[in-house]
Symmetry: C2
Subunit: 551 residues, 2 copies
Amino acid sequence: MAVLPPGVSAEAFAAATRAFAAAAGDEWVFTSDDELIPYRDYWSPVPDPEEALLPSAAVAPASVEEVQAIVRAANEHRTPLFPISTGKNFAYGGPAPSMRGCVVVDLKRMNRVLEVSDERNFALVEPGVSYFDLYEHIQQRGLNVWIDCANPGWGGPLGNTLDRGMGFTLGYYRDHAGAMHGVEVVLANGEVMRTGMGAVPDSRTWQDYRYAFGPDPSGLFPQGNFGIVTKMGVRLMPAPEHYRTGLVTVPKRADLRPLIAAVNYLSDLFMIGEPLYGSPLGRLWGDAEFREAATRRGGANAEEMDRLAAAAGLHSWQVELQFLGSEGTTLANWDYAKSLIARRVPDARFTDIQSVPLPLTEEQIALGTIPDQHYLWRSNLGIPSLNTWQSLGRSESMPDAWRQNHVGMFAVIPRSADGVFEAQQVFGDTLRDMGVGTRISAISTPVNWYQFSFLFSAGFSSGGGRPESTPETRARDAEILKTLMKTAAEHGWAEYRAAPWFQDAVSDAYSFNNHALRRFNETLKDAVDPNGILAPGRGGIWPRHLRGNRG
Amino acid sequence: MAVLPPGVSAEAFAAATRAFAAAAGDEWVFTSDDELIPYRDYWSPVPDPEEALLPSAAVAPASVEEVQAIVRAANEHRTPLFPISTGKNFAYGGPAPSMRGCVVVDLKRMNRVLEVSDERNFALVEPGVSYFDLYEHIQQRGLNVWIDCANPGWGGPLGNTLDRGMGFTLGYYRDHAGAMHGVEVVLANGEVMRTGMGAVPDSRTWQDYRYAFGPDPSGLFPQGNFGIVTKMGVRLMPAPEHYRTGLVTVPKRADLRPLIAAVNYLSDLFMIGEPLYGSPLGRLWGDAEFREAATRRGGANAEEMDRLAAAAGLHSWQVELQFLGSEGTTLANWDYAKSLIARRVPDARFTDIQSVPLPLTEEQIALGTIPDQHYLWRSNLGIPSLNTWQSLGRSESMPDAWRQNHVGMFAVIPRSADGVFEAQQVFGDTLRDMGVGTRISAISTPVNWYQFSFLFSAGFSSGGGRPESTPETRARDAEILKTLMKTAAEHGWAEYRAAPWFQDAVSDAYSFNNHALRRFNETLKDAVDPNGILAPGRGGIWPRHLRGNRG
C-alpha cells in the first residue's frame, strides 16, 4: 500500500528516491512501511485512515549541500518535500507531513550547536538540536544564559520557532518567532540564502540585528513553506540569579478586570515572567448550584457565583506571578506588584510562594523541589523537561481526557477580562450546544504564553487522537474543533496554530477582503517555488497546481 | 524643467496626473515646481543637481479608497509612486523619492489615531499621525501609556517604523519595527490587505498578536516597497511611575569588556532602558600625546592612553544607565547594577544622577529640568521634542560640522568591547587615510539604540548636505561614505539604513551567495508588483524593468 504524492507516478517517484539516495546516501532514504513508522502522527486526528497524512518516503541529509541536492532532485521529479527538525511537536502532527505523500526531509542529523554567546546572549543552531542538547551544551561550558524551552523539551529551538511555539520565561523570549534572529534557508530552487545580517558575507552580527537592509522576508518561514531552514539564530536570556513567585488572589468575579490590567502593566514593563492565571473556584465544582451559575447559557450568573464563593470563603481568581532577576530586584518587583494591585483591588490577597537562589543545584533539579517550597516548574527556569502532561494537569478544572488528547483549540483572544468573559461564554455555550459537557465554564482561564495576548483553549472529552480512538470519535472531534474554529471566527478571534489536518480550517478564519493575506502569500509562494515542492498546504498555503487540495 | 519618471512620456504622465486628480481631487495633486518644493530633500547629498531625487508630482489622498484609486491609476499609466507619511526623516532623504521622477503619495492627510488602549497597551494609527499627535491624544485622554518616539518628534510612528527607526526607552519598544503589530496595506494591485490578526474580519486582537496563521509577510513592508501602509499597530509601553539614572565609570581601556558584558546582561533582562556610552577622555583631546595614542594607525596605544588617563585622574569609559519602573524597583535595579558591575570591575565608580517621580509636571517638561538634577532628555521619557541637534552634540568628541550634517554612516557592529575596539581602528584608519581628520578615535563609542547590537557612526567634516555645500563637497561626501560602507562590508559589518541616494551602495554589502537575499526579494517584488509602480529602488529592491537603474 505505497503512498505516493498526488500526481506523481510510481516511476517518477522511484527516480526521485534514487536521486535522494544519490544526495544523502542509500542508507538515509527510507521507503518501507516499517521504516516510515517514525514519520507517522501517532495521535493522528484524521478520521479516515485512507486519508492519514502519511509520507511516501523519508530522507535524512547530513549537510546543507545534501539538502540542496535533495531540493534540486525534488524539483526535477516534481516530488513534494516536508522538512522536519526533531519532529516532536505531537500536538501539531509530529513528524507527519502537511500533505499525504510528501517525502519527509528529516533534518535531525544536522544537530550542531554552532555558537552560543553569553556576552552577547544568543545561540546559532542547526535543525536537529533539541532543547536538551542546547541546555547541555550551555551547562557543560558554564555559559551564563538560559534557554526558553517548550515543554516537553524533546523538541528543539529551530523547529519550535518555525511552528511559532512559545516558552515560559520573560515575555520577549517566550515568543520564539520573535526571538528568532537570522536564518539560513535552502530555497525551493536549491539556493542557500541568509536573512538578517547573515546576508553580509562573513557577518559579524548575524544574531545581533535581525532585519538586514531592505525588506525582511524572515517572517515567511515560520508556519510557512518558503524554504528549508538549515540554521537559526535565537536570542537567549541572561541567566538570572534569583527566581521568586508570588500568588495573588482577588475575591470577586469583576475583580478580574483590574487584576489583568495590572498584570499587563507589569508584564509590558518586563517586571514579571509568564503570569499563570487560575480560579480557586474549581473547588466548588461539585456544587450543582455553583456549576449551574458558572455554565449558564448566555453568560455566567456573576452575582450567584460571587455569593457562593464568599459563602465558601474562596476568592474568585488567582494569578501566580514569576520574577526573574536578583534577590533584591525580584523582591522589589513583587513588592511593587502588591502595591499596584492593592491600589486597584483593595481586597486582594498576596502570598509569597517561592524564593530560590539560582542556579539550582543538581539535586534541586533532580528533586524538582526545594524543601518547604512548592514544586519547581523546570521549564519556567529554562530547564528542559518532559513533564508536560503534569503542566496540562495543573488546573483543577482540566479533565483527565485532555491529558492524553493531542488536538484542541487555542484561540487568540484579547488580554482583558472582557475578552476572557466573552470567550468563556461563547465557547462554553458552543460546547454545551454540541453536548460535550461543561469543560468551558465561567472559571476557565486563558494562558498568557504570548506576552501581548491570551490564548483560550477549548478542550473536549470525546477522545481526541488517543490510541483507543476510532474513526467515529475522530470524526466527531474534527467536527467539534471545526465548529469551535468557526465560532471563534464569527467573534473576530482565531487560532494561532494548527495541526496539518486543520491547517485549512484555521487559515479560513483569516479571510479579510476575500483572503487577501492568503492570496498575497500564495502569489509569493508561486513566484519562489513554481513547482510547489516545499510543504504544500503548510500554514494554509498551497502551490498553484495543488490549490484544489485546500480542505 | 519638468521631471518625468523613466520611460514615461509627457502624454502618459499627463494622463496619470488627471487620473490622480480624479482619485484625490484636483486640489490635492501638485505638479508645479513651487508646489513640489516641500517634496525635495533640503539636505540632499546628491552631487549633481540633474540627478537629484526630485518628484515628478505629488498627490495627497484622504482615505484608503483614494490610495487604492491612485495605485490603480499608477498601474494603468505605468507611473511609479513613492509613499511618504510625515516625510520628516531628513537624515534619510526626507520626503524625496527613492527614484527621480516618482509621484510622491503624501499620506499626511490620513492622520487619525484610531485606537489607543492602556489596558492592553497598543495604538493603531494612520500614516500622517506624528509623534506629537499621538502624544497629545494620549495626554488629553489621560491614558497611562508612553510612546517610544524618534527624536525629533515631528516624524510619526508609522513612517519611522517603516524606516526601521528606533527610540529611547525599553529595548523592546526602542525597536520600532519589532513593536509593529499588524498593518493594513494597499498592495500594488490596489487591493487592501491586513496582516497579523487583522486578517480576521472584525478582528478583536489585531494589535495583540502579530503573526496571524501561516507565513507572515509583515517584514516586507519596513524599508520595502511591497505596499502602501495605511494603518499600523504599535505596542506601547505602560507609563512608568519613576525614572532614575546612574552614571558608571571604569578606569582602564580594557575595562570596557566587562562593562559592556554587564550592561548587556542588565539590558537583556530588561532591567535598564537605553545605555548611553561615552568616554570621559574627551577632555584629553587637546593633549597631542593623547591624541596620537588614540588615533594610532593599526590600533590605539592602550598602555599610553591608560597612563595619560590615570595621570589626569580620569576614567576611560562611562555609561549612563536609565531605569524605568517604580521608585523601589528602579532603586533595586540600580543597586543590582552597581553590585554586578563592581564584581567585574572592582574600580568602577557609581554616581546617582537623576531620580524623578513621574509623570513630569507641565512645568518640568517646559523647563526640561528639575532643580538640582541634570537635564531631562525628553525622548528618554516618551515625550516628543525637537532637541535632536543637542542630542547629537552630547558627546564631547562630536564635531560641530556633524550637527548640521544630514548624512553619515551607522554600521551594525557586535555589542562587545572587541567589536567597538575593532570599529574604532578600522573606521578611524579609513577616515585618516582619506585625510578627513580624527573624528573616529579610540574613545569613540557606539550607540545602543537597537537592544542587541551597537551602531557605530562615522561622521566626517567635509560638509555633508549642508546648505552651503557644493557639488564638489557632496561628491567628496559620497565618496567617503561609500568608502566607509565598503570598508564595513570587508569586515563583515553593514549599515542598517540608508538615504535613497545610498540605497544600492548599502544593499550591495548584503551580498551573501551572490545576493541571494536581494534576488529572493526581487522575485517576490516582481510577483506582487509586476509593473514595478511602488517605490522602485527602495531598500535596494528594483522591479524587473528598472533593475538596470541599480546604482
